[in-house]
Symmetry: C2
Subunit: 487 residues, 2 copies
């Protein structure tokens, strides 16, 4: 364990937690956040702190931190700002080494709030206690079943790390992960960053073996130079996908009002981010889609793209989008076209996109993928439509007698084999396969479940050819920057 990992251990893997401001009143955050901590499945001891109650949610409560019969590793703090400095003193005296302060009303409102915040930081730093927040949404660490958070979102453990200077966007991203079947390694809503700065979280996630990709929303940096050093180092090891908000004048004004103490010039950031190897995106969909798009994919050696499509129109859209995003929709060699011609029916119109709409014969899709992966002129593949990976009749036939759950289990089994094969081919050749699909033919309510299944297998699956091309272009750019010398 590195020094940094040791320092963060009480925060992300606490053996026990003091919950300061616990409440039995169901509309208070002291109750909602505590419930989330319990419902998230935390296995260590929880010590609710409340001067007026004997029990909170059936757990014995303590009047003060000092009364807790052992040393908690972490304190979750939801009391009003004026009471927080004393709580921090109590924690330090007790030996608590980390805190998450969810309460708002500190530096972001100025005046007394700012004074309280300064006092807290001073105490914490002297006392060797690290603090997340204040004015934040909480944190998530699924590997420790740790969810001290405002939103009631409980994603499973997985490779996606989330750092956000906005609590609602942190929740948005975790919600997207949960809905699409991906697990997360860690989520931090950094709030006012009174003590720990987002630079610290990037550094931690860079070293964190659970984290394979970092997605982040930032409005500004407190330590520009350190940020640059850290992120350049991290981005060389794992993709760092980011929205830098406040890049327009109106957005910058809004960001100033949202997280007042931050500053930074858009132009400077753009230059720095490019040099650091950050993958820039500018909206939530792109941010999430790009992050998960890196999972389970080899990084391509070039931009020469093949498109395999089950529908002509989708193929045209993918070709347009690929060109717009700087991919080369490569002219396939005669050798490749001949090999494809042996699989596809005589009326197939040779070219790239490879349009197999009229040749959806059992097993053809995997055969074509093999040909395209082996083609020397191809660096990567956009696959449009996954119906060719199913035995359609068994699962989509109206007259099938199986229950929906049985059919879903059969789809899951078939998709499991197909994606195993795709993963092997893709990694053997070092060429990513990015997929978009629709399931429009009578699948109905199964659609979301099927997308979720594919997410659980660790693959991103998009609903739009444009998205597939955009994400692939990010993989290509990442490859151009970071792996130049590895081949």
């Amino acid at each position: 364990m590195t020094d940094l990992q040791s320092r963060f251990q009480p925060l992300f893997d606490p053996k026990s937690i003091a919950f300061i401001g616990a409440s039995n009143n169901p509309i208070k955050w002291g109750c909602i956040v505590l419930k989330n901590l319990i419902n998230g499945g935390y296995q260590g001891k929880i010590f609710p702190v409340n001067p007026k109650e004997k029990e909170i949610l059936d757990i014995p409560a303590y009047a003060r931190v000092g009364d807790i019969p052992q040393k908690p590793d972490l304190a979750v703090i939801v009391i009003p700002p004026p009471a927080v400095p004393q709580a921090i003193s109590d924690c330090i005296e007790k030996g608590v080494r980390a805190g998450v302060i969810i309460t708002a009303g500190f530096a972001e409102v100025g005046g007394d709030g700012e004074k309280f915040q300064n006092r807290i930081v001073e105490k914490a730093r002297k006392g060797n206690m690290i603090l997340v927040g204040p004015n934040c949404n909480g944190i998530m660490r699924p590997s420790a079943r740790l969810f001290p958070e405002m939103p009631s979102i409980f994603p499973g453990q997985g490779p996606v790390g989330i750092v956000s200077q906005s609590g609602n966007i942190a929740a948005s991203l975790a919600q997207r992960a949960l809905k699409s079947g991906f697990g997360i390694s860690c989520m931090v809503s950094s709030g006012n960053e009174a003590d720990l700065h987002c630079e610290d979280y990037f550094e931690f996630l860079g070293e964190d073996p659970q984290t394979e990709v970092i997605i982040s929303y930032v409005e500004g940096f407190r330590e520009g130079g350190r940020f640059f050093d850290i992120v350049r180092r991290v981005a060389a090891k794992k993709p760092v996908v980011m929205i830098k908000a406040g890049e327009t004048e109106a957005g910058s004004r809004a960001a100033q009002s949202h997280t007042a103490s931050l500053a930074g010039s858009p132009a400077v950031f753009t230059g720095v981010s490019h040099q650091a190897g950050i993958i820039p995106t500018d909206n939530l969909e792109d941010l999430f889609n790009t992050g998960v798009g890196f999972l389970n994919q080899p990084i391509p050696k070039g931009n020469r793209t093949a498109i395999l499509t089950m529908g002509g129109g989708w193929g045209v859209l993918a070709a347009d989008a690929s060109s717009r995003y700087g991919l080369d929709v490569v002219k396939l060699s005669d050798k490749t076209l001949r090999a494809l011609g042996e699989i596809l029916p005589p009326w197939w119109n040779p070219g790239n996109p490879v349009d197999m709409v009229a040749g959806n014969i059992e097993g053809a899709m995997i055969k074509i993928i093999k040909v395209l992966m082996a083609a020397k002129e191809v660096d990567c593949l956009i696959l449009l439509g996954i119906m060719g990976l199913f035995s359609m009749q068994s699962v989509f036939d109206d007259n099938a007698t199986e229950s929906t759950e049985d059919r879903l289990a059969e789809i899951n089994r078939q998709l499991g084999s197909a994606f195993d094969e795709i993963r092997q081919l893709s990694h053997f050749h070092g060429k990513p396969i990015i997929t978009a699909t629709e399931l429009p033919f009578g699948v109905g309510d199964m659609e979301d479940r099927i997308f979720h299944m594919i997410g659980e297998k660790g693959f991103a699956m998009y609903k739009n050819p444009d998205t597939a091309a955009k994400v692939l272009s990010h993989l290509v750019h990442y490859g151009q920057r970071h792996i130049k010398n590895q081949y």
Copy 2:
């Protein structure tokens, strides 16, 4: 009824249908399309035509069109290409005035296919019969409960007209409508456009009183001059939102291969489309989102935009996106800020975006919307978060004893009142209100249902502040072009 409407009546409102190539074999299109026609709820007579069967799907069948005991209005044709010319002759002899040819293997494969296609068109035009296709996905006309189509998608009647030169994209768009609660007026997959061209469909939808907005995917035009005249006329009456595919070299090659006979220079199209007042988009999400974004909204008189947000981060993203899309995130007047200050709590940070995260008191959101609608300096509003339109506790409380269905009914009732009020305010002031939201706090599986409910009320609801800003910018541009002289 106009001449054009009379001409299209046998196609879109047929009293009876000959189904040529009907089959009992469940994996043949002659069975699948017929089932869709039946399952879609068509109320007129259906006459299956098949020389070898007495009954198809329990409906009495006829060996030839000539044997049908009455004159069908429409023929749906799914037989192989060599047999289609004779079928057309039979139809004309019987007095059939319209046909939908779903079969592929005509001009798009060249050779004999092209000859068959030419023969069909020649016969149809002499015989005064109009034809959709061949090589198409079918049509939908929910008002006539008419679904002679390959995909099994049955949206309800509504204001969205769809014209697509790709069958799979036609299905994608109809599927999106169905999933998000919107009805459609008409869907045409135009296929090879042997007889009717997409120009004809635009002309029809322009006159069609059901159609309030047209969304379309086109790869090229057979009648450039006529297209320009028609679309300019239609776009002045209702928004025409379009993907013109094949705008890059790779896309153009793909389009050539997909719908071979079409041509056209990207540069020419861009100029023409701008002059004609087409609203251009370049991917499926934007196409659909923009189309439905016009529904139930007044067209704004300017680009001065207020943003009302329940989360700081979403507000910053909306401000950035608004600027990027050419909206003016307007400085609110002192008068407006004072009025807002009376509703929001003392720690509210005055500005635009109006961030009400800390002031989500019952009823505050509608009050703020009223202030912003009445503000002289505001032309339009982006509303982020709809939780302020609910009485949250009644519907999202974990401990609520009501069933999910009861809670959804209550949400639907509350949303109904809220959106009635929003619609009235918006139309009274002539200022659109474009909404994006997430429902992350324990709503779980209800989320899709809630979005669907809002769609059913005729309102687009996005999941991303970027999308709301992008769609609003299209409304603003449409207003600048088309309603300049109305105020």
